[in-house]
């Protein structure tokens, strides 16, 4: 290979790696393209070969059929309600706890922090049975509360918020104290507004996590009109079989959209958040 210059070798390598990268990205993205294209095919054509990755037919009726044949709108509204309520309440609880760990001095601080953090390592399968019993005894089985209350505790979120709040200079607290503010006022009017990046991370994490939650609804929800989207889709797809998959895929494609939107919206905050989680320092 003496007749190829070093520079040319480098360029060939770059192009080769470029092709490999495009191929890899195609692997990650093609299932989505297939889903979208097939969802737009006529139901009877949906499994026809060759498979399509780009839509050639535009059978929008499939999308209408998803809503008319199943309580699909109910699924979406349930998921939305749960996600919004959970996100708002969890942000408040998480930031209050984070503030306590970041700014306040109290007996048992380290023990409490360690305790809450250990929650990250506890597998959900190991606590689901007693948790189920608690939910049952609270009388909230098969309700939205059953998939909100157990998820109000977010150890990772508390950790992130605490880390972030600790980077806010205490001079702000001091100024507020001089103005006569108590701890809660400092939290609400000073620290919280300055913690927006960390808040954004918790909001995105919680919303997407709630939207995508399958195991919780699987255990706690049994009636059609209380189901959230992940559970509804699962029940839907097993009941329809392999016949009209383009209709199911229409539902699937709709289900994809909200997490994507939230992700795009919170993108820059998300990456900031993982840096905050202590891997850097």
């Amino acid at each position: 290979m003496n007749f190829i210059s070093a520079g040319a070798k480098k360029t060939i390598l770059r192009i080769a790696l470029g092709f490999i990268m495009i191929l890899l990205c195609a692997i990650f993205l093609l299932p989505f393209f297939w889903a979208i294209s097939t969802s737009l095919r006529l139901p009877k054509d949906s499994f026809n070969l060759p498979p399509q990755f780009f839509p050639t037919s535009f059978c929008i009726q499939n999308y209408e059929m998803v809503f008319s044949t199943f309580p699909f709108l109910k699924f979406i509204l349930n998921s939305l309600l749960v996600a919004v309520v959970l996100t708002i309440s969890q942000v408040i609880i998480t930031t209050m706890a984070g503030y306590a760990f970041a700014r306040l001095h109290f007996a048992g601080k380290n023990i409490c922090f360690f305790l809450i953090l250990s929650g990250i390592m506890i597998p959900i399968s190991s606590i689901i049975i007693p948790q189920f019993m608690v939910v049952k005894s609270l009388g909230i089985m098969d309700s939205q509360l059953a998939i909100i209350l157990p998820y109000l505790i977010n150890p990772m979120g508390i950790f992130l918020v605490k880390q972030f709040m600790q980077t806010i200079p205490s001079s702000y607290d001091e100024a507020a104290i001089i103005d006569g503010a108590g701890k809660f006022r400092i939290y609400w009017n000073v620290i919280l507004p300055m913690s927006v990046p960390a808040l954004a991370v918790v909001v995105v994490m919680t919303f997407v996590g709630s939207w995508n939650n399958f195991f919780g609804p699987l255990i706690y929800i049994s009636s059609w009109d209380k189901m959230t989207l992940p559970l509804g889709l699962n029940v839907l797809s097993s009941s329809l079989g392999n016949g009209d998959i383009s209709v199911i895929l229409a539902g699937v494609v709709i289900a994809f959209i909200p997490p994507i939107l939230i992700y795009i919206f919170g993108q820059k905050y998300l990456l900031q958040g993982t840096t905050l989680s202590g891997l850097k320092s």
């Binding site: 790696l17 470029g18 990268m21 890899l24 692997i27 299932p31 989505f32 297939w34 889903a35 499994f47 070969l49 498979p51 609880i93 209050m96 306040l104 001095h105 109290f106 409490c112 305790l115 809450i116 929650g119 390592m121 506890i122 597998p123 959900i124 399968s125 190991s126 689901i128 049975i129 007693p130 948790q131 189920f132 019993m133 608690v134 209350l149 157990p150 109000l152 505790i153 150890p155 600790q166 205490s170 701890k183 939290y187 939207w211 399958f214 992940p230 559970l231 889709l233 699962n234 998959i245 199911i248 895929l249 699937v252 289900a255 994809f256 997490p259 994507i260 993982t274 891997l279 850097k280």
Partner: protein, 306 residues
């Protein structure tokens, strides 16, 4: 961080703010104890020694559940399947994510970088139960895209979800596709935190990219590798969603995992005491893994660049 704490202590005269603090903490603490702390305690110290099927009251039965668990051939299968998943998935995640991260953090133009990063991370954000529907169709023996592509290349169709041995592999393939983005992002951040000056200095000294990787990047990346390894170990041991949604433990029992057993015993067979024993077993496995990881950390994780 230490200076900040001591400085604050001086500023706030070291007075303890116990009541205020616990008022701030109480929602989090209450939720923790009611839904996490209490339950794990109940599982380990009470329910696993009992017999409970929701209808009749709880009965204490001693170590009967554990005796049953160790003799149960279904549990043996679940344990072996979980082991298979761990052995296949963890190295795949740890290595593939690293290679992807290295490919993406080269000196290439930003739009490409952005496109690669978004594509790789994309599957992690969508709903599992939605995307498993898609993959179940992709894996379809007669009409699925995967077998179609294989046939185009003149290869035989693979019984992705029809054969027991292939089913586990298929679930693993899906799991990597769906989740590798998570490990990938951690590696990207870890690589970005390596100061360029180190790399440039090595390049000036004439080091090849391979040497730069093994002697500079990898050691400085070791905390990230440790983190990714631990996270993936813990996640794989309790894997449930993917085997449940794609094959529901089948065909036969080829994709039943420990977590799958817990779910089935508790919520299908209503053997909650027995399921709790399995749940305790799972918890102990994870605790042991975590302890081993943390004790081995000192041997190979390199923190001294801080």
């Amino acid at each position: 961080m230490n200076e900040l704490v001591t400085k604050k202590k001086k500023l706030f005269s070291g007075k303890k703010e116990n009541l205020t603090a616990y008022l701030f903490l109480s929602p989090a603490l209450v939720t923790f104890f009611v839904f996490i702390g209490g339950p794990i305690f109940a599982t380990i110290f009470f329910l696993d020694f009992s017999k409970y099927n929701i209808i009749s009251p709880i009965k204490i039965v001693g170590i009967q559940n554990f005796a049953r668990m160790f003799a149960d051939p279904e549990m043996a299968v679940a344990f072996i399947n979980t082991l298979k998943f761990v052995v296949i998935l963890v190295p795949l995640h740890v290595f593939i994510a690293l290679i992807l991260a290295l490919l993406v953090t080269r000196k290439i133009s930003t739009p490409f970088k952005y496109f690669y990063r978004t594509s790789i991370y994309f599957p992690t954000i969508v709903t599992v139960s939605a995307v498993t529907v898609v993959w179940t169709y992709l894996f379809n023996y007669d009409f699925g895209v995967l077998n179609y592509l294989l046939n185009v290349l003149n290869l035989n169709s693979v019984p992705w979800l029809k054969s027991g041995s292939w089913a586990l592999v298929s679930v693993a393939i899906f799991s990597v596709w769906k989740n590798v983005g998570n490990s990938f992002i951690f590696y990207v951040i870890g690589l970005q935190n390596i100061p360029d000056t180190y790399i440039e200095a090595a390049q000036i000294d004439g080091a090849s990219p391979l040497r730069i990787f093994f002697n500079i990047k990898l050691p400085l990346l070791s905390p990230t590798v440790f983190f990714v390894l631990t996270i993936n170990l813990i996640a794989c041991v309790q894997i449930f969603d993917e085997p449940f949604l794609i094959t529901n433990g089948g065909p036969g029992d080829s994709t039943q995992t420990i977590a799958w057993q817990i779910y089935t015993q508790a919520f299908r067979n209503f053997n909650m005491g027995y399921a709790s024993a399995i749940a305790t077993f799972l918890f102990i496995i994870i605790a042991v893994i975590t302890m081993i990881q943390f004790s081995l950390q000192n041997k190979w994780v390199n923190y001294d660049y801080e």
